[in-house]
Symmetry: C2
Subunit: 206 residues, 2 copies
């Protein structure tokens, strides 16, 4: 792609460094900004710079927060004996949206992935172990994605927890609510039969 302007080329290049944004999309986005009032570009640019320079992570759970402790950790109504271990703050948002969970979280910031050069030391695992050692947590719920990397991370943390007094659990895998059995994949269907739950539980969950 040949550009008639270095400034344009540079802006398109920087935009195309974002994940999932190719050169063509980047050009479309940049030309859109060019057509808008200058204010729009400044607002976007300031919001990004401000977020990056002033962002703060909760001291306790590593969630993004504007305060030292995030709203969830600081909320006295939440059950601090229950901690849900997630990969990313998007997972916190997803679980919060269900309104079904009243415990705290622990955001790892990724999962162990030798292919991408992410080892245990790159994740927020030590802080989790320290939280457990304090003794207030009675149950850790692993809610990582059920991929090779997710399972590896779960298992690594599980091994590190040996000797500590804490119950570990993992979120249930099974057929999505509303899905038809005939279209489900065999692994999911198989697990959902092995890990069947008392019928009364499904009535309670509504």
């Amino acid at each position: 792609m040949e550009f008639s302007s270095k400034l344009l080329e540079n802006a398109v290049y920087e935009m195309s460094q974002l994940p999932g944004i190719g050169k063509r999309t980047a050009l479309r986005l940049v030309l859109h900004l060019l057509k808008q009032p200058e204010e729009r570009t400044n607002l976007l640019s300031n919001a990004l710079v401000k977020l990056k320079s002033e962002v703060n992570f909760c001291e306790c759970c590593n969630n993004i927060s504007d305060t030292k402790l995030c709203e969830i950790c600081a909320n006295p109504k939440r059950d601090e004996t229950l901690v849900c271990v997630v990969e990313d703050i998007r997972d916190v948002m997803a679980i919060e949206n269900t309104s079904q969970y009243n415990g705290l979280y622990h955001v790892l910031g990724g999962k162990i992935s030798p292919m991408e050069g992410v080892g245990p030391q790159d994740l927020n695992i030590n802080a989790l172990l320290k939280r457990v050692q304090k003794g207030t947590i009675s149950e850790l719920i692993f809610a990582l994605s059920s991929t090779m990397e997710g399972d590896t991370t779960n298992f690594y943390i599980y091994r590190q927890l040996e000797g500590m007094e804490v119950v570990t659990s993992t979120i249930a895998r099974g057929i999505s609510v509303g899905d038809e059995l005939e279209y489900a994949d065999e692994v999911t269907l198989g697990r959902s039969i092995l890990n069947r739950v008392p019928f009364e539980n499904s009535i309670k969950a509504g």
Copy 2:
């Protein structure tokens, strides 16, 4: 979507104002930037602000350019009697990529669209008429998209040119090279028969 941080919410909001970027994609992009070194955010933000504040449009054809006259208009080897009228600088790039055109361009900056509140006065049409009045241009090639708005814009300019000594033409519409006839839409196929060209021409074009 509920955010644990106002800074994050603001950055996601500004990002989601870009066309084709929803809230979820915006969150993904912003979180990606957060994981990258601060430099990346600054480079992106500076490139956008710099482009918007320092951008310059060619005095002659309205193409984006770093100089007063764009490279194409300033190139003495280009045929200045031939001007191709396009909607957008992306169209200039597309035509330049073909290496088949040696004339100049005129970028309108959009097309007449009453639905979107774009009238002739919002486009770069007066400058085009002035260029034609100078008398150096012998042919105008309309290369707008063949939509209702494109046709309206073509026709509007065509009417304004009445009495001026200039030949007007439009790029050929027809079946794409490599396409099979049975899958072509009727309008395109019909036009390609009506506007058939001498067989020798197709041999020359290779």
